[in-house]
């Protein structure tokens, strides 16, 4: 599935929810159920600091694709990260770098994108793209 298709799938899924409560319940469920990062990767150099919560992000390459794993101490954030990972993980550096992540806005979680409230969400997207750039330069 392409990044666009994966985004469309999430948007369709969220269209089933009637209100914010259901969306949050879903994010909480995602946040709780996904073991996203190995403990050994929860190191200070993998931390993305926001004013609100902490996010750990790790990236590895696998056959030219980048696999992301992450965690956060806040569950809603963790739920959103798992969406980001669902969309961006196992893609090539080029795909990740060119990705336009419009789905967060479309599923009605735009407020999570505001720079201060993003809890590092924007920083996280930036960091994912940064990893992609680093792997791309290494490959060339």
């Amino acid at each position: 599935m392409t990044i666009e298709e994966k985004q469309a799938e999430i948007v369709d899924e969220f269209a089933l929810f009637d209100d914010w409560l259901q969306k949050y319940d879903y994010l909480i469920e995602l946040g709780k159920s996904l073991p996203m990062i190995e403990e050994k990767y929860k190191t200070d150099d993998r931390i993305i600091k926001g004013c609100q919560s902490r996010v750990w992000l790790n990236a590895e390459t696998n056959d030219g694709a980048i696999r992301f794993t992450a965690d956060s101490d806040a569950i809603i954030t963790k739920g959103i990260i798992s969406l980001l990972i669902q969309v961006l993980s196992d893609e090539s550096p080029e795909e990740i770098l060119n990705a336009d992540l419009h789905f967060i806005d479309e599923i009605g979680l735009k407020e999570h994108l505001s720079p201060t409230r993003a809890n590092g969400l924007l920083a996280m997207v930036k960091q994912m793209k940064f990893y992609a750039l680093a792997y791309q330069s290494k490959a060339n």
């Binding site: 409560l21 949050y24 909480i28 609100q52 806040a74 809603i76 954030t77 809890n119």
Partner: protein, 409 residues
């Protein structure tokens, strides 16, 4: 014991934003420690300034400039009265509390903090009352010492007294902690500091909105606060400085009204307070801040304190009913701030859900990271009350927190 002294319905009507809806719910605004809401007279004062007397001050000979200057200086006098300063020229208008602290750190610091000397701050300071001192201490080769706090969130005064010595140049302490609500015994602190010849700066950002201040009684050398936390406009603050210090301190910034004479090789400085007010000040804000002070005085500080005390007591009791909720900051003397965590739920998650219910609280470290490190927590949820808040709103918060608990269970 509900307070009958305030006509709450009328007061709430004075604040148009309180009838706004957020996510389809009536707004409950509990982020007053960050900034207060503005009553209609203050909002109108800003419009009136721009529609009737907008003009630059102190320099013009024309009528508008005179009117604007008068209105500006009237506020200075109102502030003087509000904090019982001896002279109006001890009142410096700044951009805010942070600006006031930086002014003192930079200007006082350059002249009166020497190598090997010491600056004392506390473990409960806002970043704005930490970083400027770190900067000036590094520049001057001085040492920064930190007064520890107890588990209840009170200053360890015994240790503080032991820290004081003839090398202490300055003590900087907040009057009320924004994260814990602790009201510090500033008069006692000032007296002890003066015994060793140290000056004292008090960060009054969280106290000026809640009580009348008497800088002479406290014995403060510097006292600084922000207009926007006390029903006034943003971008404006006050620095009170004792005349004898302000006279001896060099200017902080150059240009505009702070000048007496300028030659190409040197300049001389204007008299107080203008020496510290470079450039065109926030005239409309200053004028409207005068209206804010009038508004607060009219409501009455006793009534304000009574209402806020009631909200603190009621809020503490109601929040304590929630299982797994722990309040941080249990000082005997406390302002209307309740900082808390619910076991197993991150403050950000709590804040996000409350927001959807129309309830505005602050979450995170509240720019007091050292406090969070002290208690080994990532941050807290903070509900801070103003006199225009009600018990019913606290009930909504309690209902909201119960919902949060169900969602994250």
């Amino acid at each position: 014991m509900s307070t009958e002294t305030l006509d709450m319905e009328k007061i709430r009507e004075d604040f148009p934003i309180l009838s706004e809806e957020v996510h389809g719910q009536p707004l409950v605004y509990f982020d007053n420690a960050a900034t207060s809401q503005k009553p209609t007279p203050v909002i109108e004062a800003i419009t009136r300034y721009y529609t009737q007397i907008n003009s630059n001050i102190h320099r013009g000979v024309h009528t508008l400039s005179q009117k604007a200057t008068d209105a500006f200086e009237e506020t200075r006098e109102k502030v003087r009265k509000h904090i019982n300063a001896e002279h109006a020229h001890e009142i410096i208008f700044t951009k805010g509390t942070t600006d006031g602290i930086n002014l003192v750190a930079s200007s006082f610091g350059q002249h009166f903090i020497g190598e090997g000397e010491e600056v004392i701050i506390t473990n409960m300071e806002h970043h704005s009352n930490i970083v400027p001192w770190q900067l000036i201490c590094a520049q001057r080769g001085a040492r920064l010492k930190i007064v520890p706090i107890s588990d209840k969130g009170e200053l360890d005064l015994e240790t503080f007294r032991k820290m004081l010595n003839k090398n202490t140049a300055l003590v900087a302490v907040n009057h009320i902690s924004n994260s814990l609500g602790t009201i510090n015994p500033v008069k006692e602190i000032t007296e002890a500091a003066h015994e060793v010849g140290a000056a004292v700066l008090i960060d009054g950002a969280q106290s000026a909105p809640h009580m009348p201040i008497d800088v002479q009684d406290i014995g403060a050398d510097f006292y600084t606060f922000s207009a926007h936390k006390m029903c006034g406009p943003t971008g404006l603050g006050v620095l009170y400085g004792r005349e004898e210090w302000l006279e001896k301190m060099p200017p902080y910034q150059g240009g505009g009204e702070m000048i007496k004479e300028v030659f190409l090789d040197h300049s001389t400085w204007a008299d107080l307070p203008h020496k510290f007010e470079a450039g065109t000040p926030n005239i409309s804000e200053v004028v409207a801040f005068g209206t804010a002070l009038d508004y607060l005085n009219e409501i009455g500080w006793e009534a304000i304190e009574a209402q806020e005390r009631d909200l603190l007591e009621y809020g503490t009791a109601r929040l304590s009913e929630i299982e797994g909720l722990k309040i941080y900051g249990e000082a005997d003397q406390k302002a209307s701030v309740i900082s808390f965590l619910i076991e197993g739920i991150h403050p950000y998650d709590v804040g996000m859900v409350l927001d959807k219910l129309g309830i505005a609280v602050r979450t995170g470290h509240h720019c007091t990271q050292p406090i969070m490190d002290r208690f080994e927590i990532p941050g807290t949820v903070r509900a801070s009350f103003a006199f225009y808040n009600t018990r019913e709103e606290i009930d909504r918060l309690v209902e909201g927190l119960k919902r949060v608990k169900t969602m994250f269970a």
